[in-house]
Symmetry: C2
Subunit: 90 residues, 2 copies
Amino acid sequence: MIFAMFQLIGGVILSFGWIPQILQIIRTKSVKDLNKKTFWLLFIGIGLMEVYAVSLAMEGVGYAFLITNSMSLVLIMFILFLIFLYRNRD
Amino acid sequence: MIFAMFQLIGGVILSFGWIPQILQIIRTKSVKDLNKKTFWLLFIGIGLMEVYAVSLAMEGVGYAFLITNSMSLVLIMFILFLIFLYRNRD
């Protein structure tokens, strides 16, 4: 049980971890050093994980994983949007 | 079983997803737009997940999760190293 807490806390930190990067992009409007391919791959990877998370939730388990993974998915999508928004400014 | 494949493939894509970002940093030696706090939080989050992954592996399950999570951990550590290496060049 205690180890499952590690996954939950790790997942929450992973999701919120993107917020400083998002705030920096909004402040500087500069995305030159962010690699578009990487963020597309992160989006696809987390998206596939989301399918797994939903399948777990439909079996009545893994709700925490679904929540933290969904948060990461939304934040990565937002970063991809910002990359496109500010890409031509560099 | 099919959904567990989604997690495995998603995990592999997530791990390898960092490689284009690493190659870009090495090529441009520019990390100005990468947020140090975010990468520290990703490192801590994945590190906590690693504790969970090791605990699963010690129970004889979740080897794929341990492999993909360990790869992500190593790649994030390398990005943190590169951020420190090139931070003063900006």
